[in-house]
Homo-oligomer: 496 residues x 2
């Protein structure tokens, strides 16, 4: 087989495999947004079968030879080959019986976790979580060997291709030093100011939905290529040509849900903007979790909580719900949307304290993977880090180390991508505004087109052709720099 034919054969195989994953994505959306409860077992069987089929395609022995022979000349094809190889390595590195054992341990641990969290029972969860951790370490050891990385970095690579804990350490240590004093200063300043006036409902779901639709359209969401529906946990699913957003409507509070929709719309814009010519090829995929999260946080945190956008949003929301008065001003919206508090729960955390929650998890999961800590010591270590980083201590494990599903679910190495994403968002938004001064004035009129044009050219349309670090350097002139994120926080929370 010629090098060109070998490469083409790989493209054909990856297209086919990725179309199976696309089908799974649609079925997963349906399970969350449409499926009646009684369909769950049948659906689990369907998805499990499709996963086995895709895995068999990935592990077909013929692949190794194709990888040996393929030598494309085109730079995008070369990048595609590199991404194919990375995906293939993750899919084939670990023997099938270990994959199965971990999958089984995760299922059992997740189920146990639901009860353990409710009952504040870390001890009851411990043996299940230890089993998941042990198997994850086995996976890490094997992948570390094959990838030539440390164990933690080998896990990280699945979510953050090419990510390095040495680099994350430097950035997170910088932030960890900065955050405690900064948070104290923000809280003091906030206490000295007028409190946010409550936005009083009720807010009918249908009105919220119409408002969300309008704002999604303002951001640029293409309803010819996607939908908005309701599910218990909001997410952005589907495939790039058919993006399925979900949210839920709280009739007592529209403000949080609305930002949730804008967050998911940021994810959606990334998917919708991926390079059309590389659909279903690895180089056409989103770059990784930190870049993906940067796109949601860029829309939600950077753009939609900016003064510019709140000037547009406040009167629009007031009109939609038929409200008026001092609570419905841009200034009060800013107080509502920028309220900072020391909380126990990561998913409820604000922009300032969120990174502290993430740094804590990153440090602990690394210590556990690298055998520098025993799992039985997790609750104590958690509370200690909470005191240091967030400034409060959980009264129990329910709102402490039992709060997240990631570790019981087998996702180790995922947490840092949240804060890497927040920092990437700040850096991209600053560069975008500098490159195109019409961006913020447009956003103040509800028009995201200039922002999205810049993101399309500098992020979305690049797919996975560059590493996250290369992409950021190309777009902003430098690697990820904590100083930009810190400057953003200072401007918004101390100077604003």
């Amino acid at each position: 087989m010629t090098p060109d034919a070998a490469y083409k054969a790989l493209e054909t195989r990856f297209k086919r495999m990725n179309l199976v994953y696309d089908a799974i994505a649609m079925l997963d959306w349906d399970a969350a947004a449409m499926m009646p409860d009684g369909g769950a077992n049948a659906r689990a069987d369907q998805v499990a079968t499709l996963k086995v089929i895709a895995h068999e395609q990935a592990t077909d022995p013929a692949m190794a030879e194709l990888f040996d022979q393929a030598k494309p000349a085109d730079p995008w094809a070369q990048a595609n080959l590199r991404e194919m190889r990375r995906g293939w390595l993750h899919a084939t590195a670990v023997p099938g019986d270990l994959v199965e054992a971990k999958s089984k341990a995760v299922s059992e641990c997740e189920m146990r976790w639901r009860t353990a969290r409710k009952e504040n029972d870390f001890k009851g969860l411990l043996p299940y979580l230890r089993r998941v951790l042990d198997l994850t370490k086995e996976v890490a050891t094997i992948k570390a060997e094959k990838l030539g990385r440390t164990k933690y970095d080998a896990l990280l690579d699945e979510y953050e291709p090419g990510g390095s804990s040495a680099e994350i350490d430097a950035i997170f240590d910088d932030l960890a030093k900065f955050l405690p004093d900064f948070t104290r200063a923000v809280l003091e300043r906030q206490a000295a100011q007028a409190p946010a006036l409550p936005l009083e409902g009720p807010f009918p779901a249908a009105t919220q939905k119409q408002l969300a639709h309008d704002l999604m359209a303002s951001v640029g969401f293409d309803f010819e290529h996607g939908r908005l529906d309701t599910s218990h946990h909001p997410f952005c699913g589907g495939v790039p040509d058919d993006v399925r957003l979900t949210t839920r409507w709280d009739e007592k509070d529209f403000a949080k849900g609305l930002m949730g929709v804008l967050h998911e719309t940021g994810h959606a814009m990334y998917e919708l903007g991926l390079p059309q010519t590389w659909r279903n090829q690895p180089v056409g995929f989103a770059r990784g979790m930190s870049v993906h999260e940067s796109q949601s946080l860029l829309v939600e945190m950077q753009a939609s909580r900016s003064d510019a956008f709140l000037r547009y949003l406040a009167p629009k929301a007031a009109a939609a719900f038929g409200k008026s008065g001092p609570a419905w001003t841009p200034e009060n919206f800013a107080r509502v949307y920028r309220r900072v508090s020391r909380g126990l729960i990561r998913v409820d955390a604000d922009e300032v304290t969120y990174p502290a929650h993430v740094i804590l998890r990153y440090r602990l999961e690394r210590a556990l993977i690298e055998d520098r800590m025993d799992l039985a010591d997790l609750p104590g270590a958690w509370n200690e880090q909470m005191r240091e980083l967030v400034g409060i201590v959980p009264p129990d494990d329910r709102d402490g180390c039992l709060q997240d599903i990631h570790w019981p679910g087998g996702s180790w190495g995922y947490f840092p991508t949240y804060t890497l994403g927040a920092m990437t968002a700040a850096q991209l938004y600053a560069a975008a505004k500098q490159a195109d001064p019409t961006i913020e004035p447009s956003i103040s009129k509800g028009d995201f087109k200039p922002l999205m044009a810049w993101l399309r050219a500098n992020v979305h349309a690049l797919g996975s052709s560059l590493s996250a670090s290369e992409l950021l350097t190309r777009a902003t002139g430098k690697k990820l720099d904590a100083a930009v994120f810190k400057a953003h926080l200072k401007t918004r929370y101390l100077d604003g």
Copy 2:
């Protein structure tokens, strides 16, 4: 491999293949009910890939040996093996290049048909339809050889397993003799009676939907295992544990759509009632198109247009829409729902004239498949049969031989199942009422439980363990008998 192991291996393979088809069924439902237009290309790629995967599973060379070795002892397993073999034969009989050529010809012909119908252009369609017919005849010739049947029966077998045109001829010739005089008598009687009073709207879609939900629940539809949504063409999709019905709402006319929902609910009850222990095995599937259509028509035509049900429906519909007066009586509902007229269009035909439309198509498609007629002569032959069987002649081909998508779509041998289903429905309903005299009194109170209990035991739970003919004989004491259907028509349209 032991005979038992070979059979188990087949079960595993068929389960896996059928789960892929289940995934396709869910994606098809989504495409009709949920998908934005821009998702169509991506969806076509997903479904095409899953179909290729399922086809590769079916045509795996290892299957032949497993079929040679498998010898299960259990009667259901034996029936399962028989059905596996039948499905495998249909899947593997025809060489891949012929399957592909037909699939391509069908795509082109369907596309051309949409224009040709609009423009009343049979001549323009002719070369495309001839290509589909020629390839269908090639398929028929190959399958006839492998199945040991005539060419037409080999095509019929795909929709009506074991169906025989010799038996259909006898039944249809009987009906064809009966219908012209009977139709004339019904029309004369109808002309002498008071005409149906119009049910005047508007009928808000939300109210129609609530009413449809209530009636589906009355029939026994389990919303824990299914949904009702909107699509352009109503259908019953999904899988037995998660049945997805669709309909559309006409705010000027609720009556037709409501019967459409009841029709699809009949299909759904069959799927929901298939044997739970044989999910994803061929013996656990519905028995074929005529039995499936019998279940929809049993609910729609036999039960829901009975005097008993209309006594329940008329006041319920009046209350739902806030209506009253002489149009909203059971007697007027009966006139609305039993109006007979000679029409040109099959899908708009009433219970009395529908079989004539089907017999016409059956006779013509057989003549075409058996080379007793040239395709160029179709319009003339169509009009001649319309005159003889329905009693009117189409003014053009648009409302004549161009009206159905079946032939351009490559579905030859499908048409007779509609009327076989109608007759089977009449025979099953008569036997059910005789076996359980509480059935009709219950239906007059909107309670379908006794009827569904009988159908569950005598039809649904049998899956494909028996042939359609064996199933009917077991349930009613005799093979399909046109006399029962004729008696039903006489009772309803001349004596009632």
